[in-house]
């Protein structure tokens, strides 16, 4: 399912102009990392995809739907959304019920719902807390409950707002497996993240925002542009910075690329 965003602007009621004209086409099946400083408008942008926010100007189309003409509930069938703060979306008293809620609202059979919940529990390693109250779980695990509820919805578009926050090595590995799963399913994944190193290793495309606008789009090499990195309050990937400090002309991004380059120096 394609996403078409045309000249999108959004001002909050306190008149903060969070988005100042964003135009973006995201073809079906894309995996896009959205980078940029705090306050650049990343969350504001992605909240337009499931209708949590409506444009002050411009349009957002999710497939053939103009988001202004559809409710959040309707858009939830097309766009799964994991909030930056999982507590913003967790509301059931049992992990199992939280994950089942979305599928139940899709009017699937109980059997289908059960299958989806079980799969999501497994993918998110929540099997042993299925009967727990989400708020009895630590924050990092509540994040996984929120992720699981989106996994179970099997939407063609998935939005993850800062999924890398507070993850340890096991969590990041599990996240990578989820991304691979979604990729194999042909789902479009848009992830807002501050983890530049994670973004360049697991997303083929990066989108950089600053002050309500998109300032760069492309593969990891857009981060070789020091102005872009500065304007977006980012750091270039660790190894890119190291290569630059060593005076290399070609800037590798991943550990493998770095070692290849090291061998040839």
């Amino acid at each position: 399912m394609d996403i078409h965003i045309t000249d999108l602007a959004h001002s909050y009621p306190n008149s903060v102009e969070a988005l100042r004209g964003v135009s973006l086409d995201v073809p079906s099946g894309s995996q896009l990392a959205l980078l940029g400083q705090n306050g650049a408008g990343k969350t504001t942008l992605v909240k337009h995809l499931n209708g949590l926010l409506k444009p002050t100007r411009g349009t957002v189309r999710v497939g053939d739907w103009d988001t202004r003409e559809h409710s959040i509930a309707q858009l939830a069938r097309r766009v799964g959304f994991v909030f930056q703060n999982p507590d913003d979306q967790l509301f059931k008293t049992r992990v199992w019920d939280e994950i089942a809620y979305g599928p139940l609202n899709l009017h699937l059979t109980q059997e289908d719902v059960n299958t989806r919940v079980e799969r999501a529990l497994e993918a998110c390693e929540l099997g042993n807390v299925r009967d727990s109250h989400p708020y009895d779980l630590p924050l990092w695990q509540r994040r996984w409950v929120a992720l699981a509820s989106v996994v179970a919805m099997q939407t063609p578009i998935v939005v993850l707002d800062e999924p890398t926050t507070g993850q340890d090595a096991f969590g990041l590995a599990r996240l990578v497996r989820l991304l691979e799963f979604w990729h194999a399913q042909g789902a479009t994944v848009i992830a807002v993240t501050h983890d530049v190193d994670f973004a360049v290793e697991h997303f083929s495309e990066l989108l950089v925002m600053a002050e309500g606008r998109v300032i760069a789009r492309g593969d990891a090499q857009i981060l070789a542009n020091e102005q872009v990195v500065k304007d977006a309050a980012l750091d270039a990937p660790q190894l890119m910075r190291l290569a630059r400090a060593l005076g290399w002309q070609v800037l590798p991004v991943t550990p493998k690329q770095f070692v290849e380059a090291l061998a040839s120096h």
């Binding site: 400083q37 705090n38 096991f170 660790q238």
Partner: protein, 278 residues
């Protein structure tokens, strides 16, 4: 003198079957920066609660052993007194914001109001905190109108302003962009240079290597290693920690015979340069 002294600390949350902390002992010297690392579920936040006295005063469960802050046993000292000694910044900034105040400046002032600090001094301290954490431009906005990163800085500012001798920061930059992260880390350095004792829980190992003079590694509730950052962080994968890319590249380089097999893995850009800049 140890400003924090933990002896044989164990804790099991009330409804849990497994203890969250198991027989932990360590000391923290005044004016130092200590990092606590570990996989999720290892007990980092729980240890933070114990250092600040929320365990046992707020979280129910079974506690054994002692935690002493400035020689005061946290079990015997009221929480109202402990909060002036140990400022804890929660992992989730959304939980720290009181909801009782309409503006960012008032939120930062809240703790000082409760301590009865005179108005003039309060204004000055609040202004300093706002500036230090880059919130002076949003001082009159509602705390709930801030972005996630701004809210995290607000949580930090509102504890910093109270000037507790010990600050325990639970993943203080989790919501922040790289520049924001650097700014907070630099603030931590500045505080440490002024004699503040800082304990911080962190997944971003590059910053642990840069800032901490000492690292504690938690694994399933137990303290499995204490020591100097670079040595310990080289064993990141043993404990489910997020190895820096410098370390990962160095590992691969070692396997290819491009750097000496006994070279200690770099955790920062500077350390990596040293190994490679020959």
């Amino acid at each position: 003198m140890s400003i924090l002294s933990v002896r044989n600390l164990s804790f099991r949350y009330q409804q849990a079957t497994v203890p969250a902390l198991r027989d932990i002992s360590f000391e923290v010297e005044s004016g130092t920066v200590t990092a606590i690392v570990g996989a999720n579920g290892a007990g980092k936040s729980t240890l933070g609660y114990a250092l600040a006295g929320y365990i046992p005063h707020f979280f129910k469960g079974e506690m054994q052993g002692t935690v002493r802050v400035n020689n005061a046993d946290t079990r015997q000292t009221p929480l109202a007194s402990l909060v002036t000694q140990v400022g804890l910044v929660f992992q989730n900034p959304f939980n720290q914001i009181s909801g009782a105040k309409l503006t960012v400046a008032e939120e930062v002032a809240f703790g000082l109001e409760n301590l009865g600090v005179p108005r003039e001094e309060m204004t000055m301290r609040v202004q300093r905190a706002l500036e230090l954490f880059g919130l002076d431009q949003v001082a009159n906005q509602s705390p709930f109108a801030l972005s996630g990163g701004q809210q995290q800085r607000l949580a930090l500012a509102s504890i910093f302003v109270m000037e507790p001798p010990v600050m325990v920061l639970d993943e203080p930059t989790a919501q922040l962009d790289p520049v924001g992260t650097r700014e907070v880390m630099e603030s931590i350095v500045a505080l440490a240079q002024r004699g503040q004792t800082i304990v911080f829980m962190e997944h971003k190992l590059e910053w642990v290597a840069r800032l901490a003079s000492r690292v504690l590694v938690l694994d399933q509730g137990a303290l499995v290693a204490i020591g100097e950052p670079r040595q310990l962080l080289a064993r990141a994968d043993e404990w489910g920690l997020n190895e820096t890319r410098y370390a990962r590249a160095a590992r691969l380089a070692k396997a290819r015979g491009l750097i000496a097999k006994d070279a200690l893995l770099p955790q920062t850009l500077e350390q990596a340069r040293e190994i490679l800049d020959l």
